[in-house]
Amino acid sequence: MSFDDKTYEQIASYLNNQMNEAEKSTFEALLKNDTELASFVETFSSLESVYNEDTWTVKSNASVAEVKALANEFRADDVLALSKKIRDIQQTENNTTSSGNRKSYFYYISSAVAIAAVMTMFYFTFMQSITATDAFEQYHDWSTLSSFQTKSDTLNNLVNAENLFQQEKYQEALTIFEQSAKKDAIYDPKKHLYIGISYLELGNYHEALQTFDALLNSDALDNHKAYWYTALTYLKQNDAKNAKKILKTLVQNPDNYNYEKATELLKKLK
């Protein structure tokens, strides 16, 4: 399967949204008639979602008949027997309270963890409200920020900045991120998140809020992350009132970043 250069050009401008309406409808008509071309375009546009770790989605293009046939394989007797064996093992492991010495050490640790978990649950059930400062301590987690590490070492500078950030050298990290962001022609939300949080950690709340505000108003796909980090900025300043205001905006859309945490936090916050 191969297409001529002109077709490739058309595919490129179609996928990059560079066609005018007339060109677009001509090309789409072509796609309808040419299954090979359509299949190529479909696979081509699926690449990003498969290889991007953040948006990871894989779609199978199997036919209904094939899915049905395969589903029947899962209903076969030998599969059911295997399934039962695995479930039995899992059941036994769960029921075993002290099965021999080999497991006892693990058992004690896991029970300690379980008890701690239960106590934490009680703590939160009975002491529903927490202060803004406590909330900040509990809910800020910079380790969830996406990383600049890649397999190639070409982004050295940003990786350095990220390392400095992780070592809590926020001023140094901030300088590098800001320099790099200044050079960008296209707004890079990832960098600006690091910049905002560095400001936050350095106690420059005004700058932090401005940075998150800019993120919110950017056309970045994940601009809604700004709500969460703005709320954290208020919490750090022990300003529960404003934090709540932002969190209430956040929970209006379940797709927003950290929707569940925000809902939970809103319940707890004094």
Partner: protein, 185 residues
């Protein structure tokens, strides 16, 4: 028999002692992964169970050849199954999704795993340069940074390069016999 072959044969024949060994040695890591990613222990158990069943069927019926270690293979399968669940949760929040029966779900998951493996396998066949460019691109690097990193003369050049690499990758994926097997009829 090597350890991996021991696990694979044990799973294929459904030998309970081997299944127990598999559970003892590998479940903890899967559990940690699921717990760290918004899941509960029961989720981890389901994922582990479904992964073993999936591998079993693929070994018996779909000529699966495990090239890496059994542990790595099992873990990747579990990881993908859990990411798939998370995606589903994200979607179901908004719209009412018709509930498929368990077996159909498992069938979809198996086919998607095969599809994913094909994509990963073909990616390795690209030139080193293409792999680098696409790795950056798929991890959210902007075209500006790609221009800078590879010293391309302009964004247009970078876009052309990316297009060529993606086209090559598409051809590799579609050219594989396994792709036509999972192609729409």
């Amino acid at each position: 028999m090597s350890n991996d072959a021991h696990f694979i044969e044990g799973l294929r024949s459904g030998e309970k002692t081997v299944l127990q060994e598999i559970y003892n040695q590998f479940f903890a890591k899967v559990k940690t992964f699921v717990l760290r990613n918004k899941g509960a222990v029961t989720d981890a158990e389901d994922v582990f169970h479904n992964a073993l069943i999936q591998i079993y069927i693929r070994l018996k019926k779909r000529e699966l050849e495990i090239k890496s270690s059994f542990e790595a293979y099992l873990f990747t399968t579990c990881k993908n199954l859990w990411r798939r669940e998370l995606n589903k949760k994200r979607v179901t929040k908004q719209e009412v999704v018709e509930l498929e029966d368990k077996e159909t779900e498992n069938a979809f998951a198996l086919l998607e795993q095969e599809q994913w493996e094909l994509y990963i396998e073909k990616f390795q066949l690209l030139s080193e340069n293409c792999r680098k460019v696409l790795t950056l691109l798929f991890n959210g690097t902007s075209y500006e940074e790609i221009v800078e990193t590879f010293s391309y003369s302009s964004k247009v050049v970078a876009r052309q390069r990316v297009f060529k690499c993606k086209a090559k990758l598409t051809k590799l994926i579609q050219g594989d016999a396994k792709f036509s097997k999972i192609k729409k009829l």
